[in-house]
Subunit: 223 residues, 2 copies
């Protein structure tokens, strides 16, 4: 009973701290006040402050760096495995389902990016593209850079919900990474280039088609 | 230092317990062994078992029911606000972004449901449809039943990734619920019926179009 009450107090303190963070428009990497100040600000004791910070850290909203302080996490509140894919029994089916989901999502997202991004916004996208190309050329694993390339397109779509969602889906690609990774090097390089060009040219239809082709080639390889 | 070590031990125990749950193919609502058995099974002490269970509970993988035991959570590892929408400053823009995302996702999902569901699978869908209609008729808030209707279509798509993702997005609709909720009663009833009919008739194109119309009417009302 005692513990439950403490938990609720900590949860309330966590909610109050979260509301303050949102109201202050803090950004990833910003530091939050020290424990003494939070005690006063939230009107609770030290142990409740610590519990509240722990709760927000478990949600990837805060990040405690030992000795340096507590900061807004770069993960921006997106939790590890937020959709609970770990519980799915049939990982092969999950990999197929994820690719089907990407085929639904990513062509229209690429089209939105082409519509809304300015050519000068594409520098980071081209950097990821080159990173992937370099790794493919050297026969290295390029899954992480590939996920970053796709996440950057989501960011360029200007849709905040999309840019939070897509990394969750593309990072899960590692599930079946070994299946397709090495065989599709040339196709990946070519279709990535087409996607970049279409976005830079602000051609949504071409971006849609290039992304669709890119993912379909992956799907065919998987089968 | 002491605490960190303890944390890592508990995390390892949590991972081991999770692996066991997946291997045993436990389902939501299934009970996991008691603390004494877990101590033996995982080869750790009681406090580590408790910490491990707490960790999995915070990920909505387990659910501790006081006095009854510990069970697999019906939330299936999908965390509260898994994409960290609480941190988005501009909630109006977020509501628009979510509707744009739904316009990308849900028409193809309805088409998949029409392709794959058998007519007898549609009973639960029709129950949710009637629930929404009843609530609209009585002038009640129908947002939760509406979210359940859309989640059921995602389930009928047969894509496990989609059925885990969609509730996260439709539940966020409450953000702008007040804006559209009451005005769109008649349109909601009509387009929901069209969607159900198309899925029962196994007509993917009609399901796609009915869902698209349904969401576009919402979007127009929002603007």
């Amino acid at each position: 009973m005692e513990e439950r009450k403490g938990g609720n107090k900590a949860e309330q303190a966590a909610e109050a701290l979260l509301a303050w963070i949102v109201a202050e428009r803090l950004a990833p990497g910003d530091r939050i006040p020290r424990e003494e100040e939070l005690e006063e600000q939230l009107g609770v004791g030290r142990s409740t402050v610590r519990e509240a910070v722990k709760l927000l850290a478990s949600r990837n909203i805060l990040e405690v760096r030992q000795g340096a302080g507590t900061f807004l996490s770069p993960k921006q509140g997106v939790t590890e495995d937020p959709l609970g894919f770990v519980l799915v029994q049939d990982k092969r089916k999950l990999a197929e389902d994820l690719l089907e989901l990407r085929l639904i999502l990513e062509p229209p997202i690429a089209a939105l990016a082409a519509e809304r991004a300015l050519p000068e916004d594409c520098r980071q996208l081209n950097r990821w593209r080159q990173e992937v190309e370099g790794q493919i050329g050297r026969g290295e694993n390029h899954l992480q850079a590939d996920a970053a390339f796709h996440a950057e397109i989501a960011r360029l779509s200007g849709n905040g919900a999309v840019s939070r969602l897509l990394p969750v889906i593309t990072q899960s690609v590692e599930l079946d990474g070994e299946v397709t990774e090495m065989r599709l090097g040339r196709e990946t390089v070519e279709t990535h280039r087409e996607i970049c060009r279409a976005i830079e040219e602000k051609n949504p239809r071409k971006a849609w088609e290039a992304m669709y082709l890119h993912l379909q080639l992956n799907r065919r390889e998987m089968r």
